[in-house]
């Protein structure tokens, strides 16, 4: 079943000369990792914001679970879909557990009280994101990777069916990056989540996602399985850099998935 259905969607920022998105038609199926790829400025973040109802389309339609996305109430949709932003302003000190508890807002509302099931959901989310021991710490004293896990825990505390992440590993080292992608796999395979992720990491996207979308200048350049999308020709053209695509074995999850190796500018693998 399609969770999100976009039909011929265009979006133009107010006052902008040209559209940030043009003629986007796609379906996001339930129960898989769906990755959005594309160079800087290709429209990934805009597409996420349109998908999530944050921006109203200039043209075309977006439906979620068969209903127009603008017909969903804010709290109603927040119980289904959770979003993990790249970064957040932290103007005031706040402890980790209070931040994760914010994920219960769709369930308890403006005046409700945290009940036992809310506390259990917060505990479960913190455990799954691996931050049980950080609960009393101030968010300001955490590393970038730890903060990202706190935001993931808060999203999981919403108990959504769909998790949407905007470049979740942009500022993370290899360890946190792998942990984040492993968590996405675990959520889809073991807890029947749907994950939508915008990322610059073509190789991890090819290994962990079942479907990829490659955007270029607001248009869909390619859409399909990793083998369909990650080809030397397509990637080379969209990113304007020569690449080699290989399919190494023995990678664990996503074994045999196409992997991109950038070449030097003249097309060779070695710089020396």
């Amino acid at each position: 079943m399609s969770l999100f259905e976009l039909r011929n969607v265009s979006y133009r920022y107010p006052g902008a000369g040209q559209s940030a998105l043009e003629g986007i038609t796609l379906d996001v199926e339930a129960g898989s990792v769906f990755a959005m790829l594309g160079p800087n400025g290709s429209g990934k973040s805009t597409l996420l914001r349109v998908l999530l109802g944050e921006l109203e389309t200039s043209d075309g339609s977006v439906t979620f679970s068969g209903r127009p996305s603008d017909s969903w109430g804010r709290r109603e949709i927040a119980m289904e879909v959770a979003f993990v932003p790249q970064a957040e302003p932290m103007a005031f000190p706040m402890n980790v557990r209070s931040l994760v508890e914010m994920g219960r807002y769709p369930h308890i509302g403006v005046l409700g009280r945290m009940g036992p099931e809310d506390r259990a959901a917060v505990d479960g989310a913190m455990e799954r994101a691996g931050i049980m021991d950080l609960g009393g710490r101030s968010i300001r004293n955490l590393s970038g990777g730890e903060r990202q896990r706190v935001r993931i825990a808060r999203a999981l505390a919403q108990e959504p069916k769909i998790l949407v992440l905007d470049e979740p590993t942009a500022a993370l080292d290899l360890h946190f990056e792998m942990e984040t992608f492993e968590l996405m796999r675990e959520l889809t395979e073991e807890h029947s989540f749907t994950v939508v992720v915008a990322t610059h990491n073509l190789n991890l996207a090819a290994r962990y996602a079942s479907r990829l979308l490659l955007l270029s200048k607001g248009h869909i350049e390619a859409l399909g399985s990793p083998d369909d999308v990650i080809t030397a020709d397509t990637i080379g053209r969209v990113y304007r850099w020569p690449v080699l695509v290989t399919a190494p074995e023995g990678l664990g999850p996503g074994a045999g998935a196409p992997q991109v190796v950038p070449l030097s500018h003249d097309g060779s693998t070695s710089s020396g």
Partner: protein
């Protein structure tokens, strides 16, 4: 009992003590026992006149305005994710003062009881719209420095307008207008206490009830939106609520600065940033702070009197500078 509940009980006690101090201390010192007697309607009639007739309206007005300005400061800081935001610094208080002075100079206050609060509220709305508009026009959204600069410029502009307006007024109005710019409780009457209470207390209750979504706003509008907050509606309610509170407070006592800066920050250091505790704590502490500041203002150079805004600025400016430096360092 949770830590926040213990702190709030302590703040209620501190608030009560500040009220008694405000009633006891003045040109004539009155022992606490006699203050309490006067409040219950017994004791010496002359003391009763001083305590109930003269000092009580002033102390109650200071408490209401302090509560209103401190909560408004905390709400602006969360809304703008800017620790330096505050009604006075943002120019909102000056906008409200222009509204109030306009109503007085053009004689509107004699025709309707509602004219003064409505004019001050309108001034506050105009000021906040101009400040946010200027920051947006600079293309920097909620950038701290642009907002502060816009606030300072708008504040200076509105103060100039006040001086321009009072040029057309008689000497008595001129003196009153100077008090609008610096703030004073010398004009407190039981009517002004009632007017402020009728508008400000329900607005403060409404703002306090929005503490949880305000917590979400303090980590960013995008995050609040995806956590289920109707951001547009919430922002409208918060801006209207704070403009109303600031407008009516300024209509009651003039533009008193820095209460909304000093009080929320002191409380965050003690009990953290959760608005479910911070907003009620601001009401109690802001009230106590202004009652004590006004007590200092009317006793320190007795028999003359300082505008209370001078006292709050002397306390507030060092805090503002400390925060500015700390914020620059990115801590």
């Amino acid at each position: 009992m949770t830590r926040h509940a213990v702190l709030l009980v302590g703040l209620v006690a501190a608030f009560a003590v500040s009220l008694v101090v405000g009633l006891a201390v003045g040109a004539v010192g009155i022992p606490i026992g006699e203050v309490l007697e006067a409040l219950t309607g017994s004791g010496d009639p002359r003391t009763r006149t001083i305590v109930v007739g003269l000092r009580l309206p002033r102390v109650l007005l200071a408490a209401e305005v302090g509560a209103g300005l401190a909560i408004s400061g905390a709400v602006f800081q969360a809304l703008l994710r800017n620790p330096l935001a505050e009604p006075y610094v943002l120019g909102v208080s000056s906008g409200a003062a222009v509204g109030a002075v306009t109503a007085i100079v053009f004689g509107m206050t004699t025709t309707s009881m509602l004219a003064l609060p409505i004019a001050a509220f309108s001034g506050a709305v105009v000021a906040i719209t101009l400040v946010l508009g200027m920051a947006a026009a600079a293309g920097r959204g909620l950038d701290t420095h642009v907002l502060l600069l816009a606030g300072v410029v708008i504040g200076a502009f509105f103060n100039a307008i006040i001086l321009l307006l009072v040029n057309f007024a008689d000497l008595e109005t001129f003196r009153a207008a100077m008090l609008w710019i610096m703030g004073s409780f010398s004009g407190a009457t039981s009517e002004s206490v009632t007017t402020v209470a009728v508008w400000v207390l329900p607005a403060l209750l409404a703002l306090t009830l929005l503490a949880r979504p305000l917590n979400l706003m303090s980590v960013g509008e995008q995050s609040a939106f995806h956590l289920g907050v109707d951001v547009g509606k919430l922002k409208l309610m918060l801006y209207v609520g704070t403009s109303l509170v600031v407008g009516v407070c300024v209509a009651g006592s003039g533009a008193i600065g820095f209460v909304g800066l000093v009080v929320p920050h002191a409380l965050r250091l003690v009990g953290g940033s959760d608005h479910r505790w911070l907003l009620p704590a601001c009401a109690l502490t802001g009230g106590a702070f202004l009652v004590l500041a006004d007590t200092i203002a009317r006793t320190v150079v007795a028999p003359a009197e300082l505008p209370v805004g001078v006292v709050t600025a002397l306390a507030g400016v060092p805090v503002f500078l400390w925060l500015l430096i700390r914020y620059q360092e990115g801590t």
